[in-house]
């Protein structure tokens, strides 16, 4: 399916996400996970943050990303020290970035922490319907997480939306497999 879309269709979240991802992309593998995939695929709900998982990189690599983000107008909400921010990431705690002139939206970043995150990074993809040049974890993975782990009303509605919009592309076997992995490694 080819989606032709004008640049002016980009909403505030889209623009924020693409600009941020373009910087991170130059230095490491990343994926956007969870709610933003549903929203970028048409779900009409608000969010304050976009969730990103990045591969575990060393301090020097992180310093380059942190400084480039700063140069391009993004700021870490917790600290101005790249070393302190790296300590958060190493401890599997997320760190949040915004534009310097606004508290919203936020990009919440975590290091990949287990085999499930590695699986998502290895199977990342760009999703035409979103019209965004951004790497997402797959629709199958997102549905599995929302139905098996997260399970809030909002998450189940996101999953329902994804199931309808991507109906022809779903792989129920993979969804089942990921749900089993979630039970084994996260529950």
């Amino acid at each position: 399916m080819i989606v032709i879309r004008e640049i002016s269709d980009r909403n505030i979240l889209d623009q924020f996400c693409e600009e941020f991802c373009a910087i991170v992309e130059r230095h490491c593998q990343y994926i956007i996970v969870s709610g933003f995939l549903a929203i970028a695929s048409g779900r009409t709900r608000g969010t304050e943050d976009i969730d990103m998982i990045i591969e575990r990189i060393n301090l020097e690599q992180w310093k380059i990303i942190f400084n480039e983000l700063d140069k391009r107008g993004f700021i870490c909400m917790q600290t101005s020290s790249f070393e302190e921010a790296y300590d958060y990431l190493k401890d599997n705690t997320s760190i949040r970035f915004t534009r310097k002139d606004k508290p919203l939206p936020e990009m919440e970043i975590k290091f990949a922490k287990d085999i499930l995150d590695k699986y998502q990074l290895d199977n990342r993809l760009k999703i035409k319907l979103t019209g965004l040049d951004v790497w997402f974890s797959s629709v199958n993975v997102n549905i599995a997480f929302k139905e098996e782990l997260l399970k809030s009303q909002k998450d189940l509605e996101d999953a329902r939306h994804l199931r309808i919009v991507f109906n022809e592309d779903l792989n129920e076997e993979e969804i089942k497999k990921i749900k089993l992995m979630i039970k084994r490694f996260r529950l």
Partner: protein, 73 residues
């Protein structure tokens, strides 16, 4: 039909619209998302004009790196 079922029906109707109209759903969606952030921005500006407005924003968004946000100093 209860309100929960009605809400789910609405989600399904919109998801089907997105699926069947891949080139047209985005315009309305963009207006919706942008309106949320524009409203948020307006509220932030109003909060900043209230007593201790900056402190309220810092607490609301749990901002630790205050030095990084010149407009909050």
């Amino acid at each position: 039909m209860n309100s929960r079922q009605s809400h789910i029906n609405q989600i399904e109707r919109w998801a089907n619209f997105v699926r069947n109209n891949p080139t047209t759903w985005k315009k309305a969606h963009t207006q919706f998302i942008n309106a949320l952030f524009q409203k948020n921005e307006e509220v932030i500006q109003r909060i900043l004009k209230t007593p201790h407005g900056k402190e309220k924003i810092i607490e609301l968004y749990n901002i630790k790196n205050i030095e990084g946000y010149s407009w909050l100093k």
